[in-house]
Symmetry: C2
Subunit: 206 residues, 2 copies
């Protein structure tokens, strides 16, 4: 399983054949089919296990965050770490293969849900007392963040300068949320009125 993930991380999904994976693991190619039926089956089992481990590794940090700024910090550390260890690249490869392979689609869904569920719980808790809750849906924000990570990873492979520019810009936009989060009650009401005026048909008014 380790060899399978390392192959995808380093050489991409296209290079992840039974033979190349087996060679890296220094075992015979036939063993993959004996234990996992198909190559995709191996990738799914390996990915699920790795995701469970990674998510568990961040559970405490998520639960311990006490403000959106805290959570943003955890998110940055997470992104940095998971990117460096190649897990973001791994996910991007699995997701691009998911289009044609239902087993990879299931594995990708599992991975994405594991992360976003965890993030959404933390967001829900922290947004409860914040005016930002009026602006965004926690599950939607978690999904957007996850999709952004994947997109940035692919972008980075094609235009590294562009990717870091994008990341920096998103950082300054996140500050905007931060400022709104810290707003006093008067400013909150003013903002809410402004947002109401800016044509938003999709939220019921209390």
């Amino acid at each position: 399983m380790r060899a399978a993930l390392d192959t995808v991380r380093e050489d991409g999904l296209a290079a992840a054949s039974a033979r190349t994976i087996a060679a890296r693991a220094e075992v015979n190619q036939a063993l993959i089919f004996y234990h996992f039926q198909t190559v995709s089956g191996l990738l799914e089992a390996a990915s699920n296990r790795a995701v469970d481990e990674s998510v568990a590794h961040y559970r405490e940090a998520f639960a311990g965050s006490e403000s959106l700024t805290d959570l943003l910090g955890v998110g940055r550390a997470l992104h940095d770490r998971e990117r460096r260890n190649g897990n973001v690249a791994l996910m991007a490869q699995l997701m691009s293969g998911a289009r044609q392979d239902p087993v990879l689609a299931r594995a990708s869904h599992y991975a994405v849900s594991a992360w976003t569920d965890e993030i959404a719980v933390a967001l829900d808790r922290l947004l409860a007392t914040s005016p930002v809750a009026d602006l965004v849906d926690s599950a939607g924000l978690a999904d957007a963040v996850a999709a952004g990570f994947i997109g940035l990873e692919l972008y980075d492979g094609v235009d590294p300068d562009g990717a870091s520019r994008a990341l920096e810009t998103l950082g300054s936009l996140a500050q905007l949320i931060d400022v709104v989060d810290g707003l006093g009650p008067v400013a909150r009401r003013a903002l809410r009125t402004q947002l109401g005026a800016a044509s938003r048909p999709n939220r019921s008014r209390r």
Copy 2:
């Protein structure tokens, strides 16, 4: 070239072999190597041509936009159209293949740059008179938007509900930019002070 792109759009990069493409075009497989040397060479030529056409199709709309709200509307229409016709999926596939194939990397870079250059020009023009210019870099924002499109496309293949939630949430965040864009001079100054306080070490102070 049309057959090549349709194959990637519909069946993914992994299915885009010389034989499958040639079969779709109802020509002989050897012709691909005669005209384009390699399969990647064909994909690059086809992608470059398609990108040039698509970008040209939106040039007027970009140039004609007179506010950030306008531009956001153009962006939404663009995303909707390019997603429906499969061009976003195509890009995501090329970018995921770019990791291992330098020709696909070059093609992806060309495509991404063609779009972001166009968007950045429009943003530069519109941000000139807006307080948002203090917040974000136009090139960085263009990159972030492009990366977001790609990420959302992959996400959509794995969790369609999550992808639409994410898109909706991003829409409500965009409204925040909209509100800041419409701020009067007093509110602008207040916001700028708030942002200054929110620890931002990466921008020189005038």
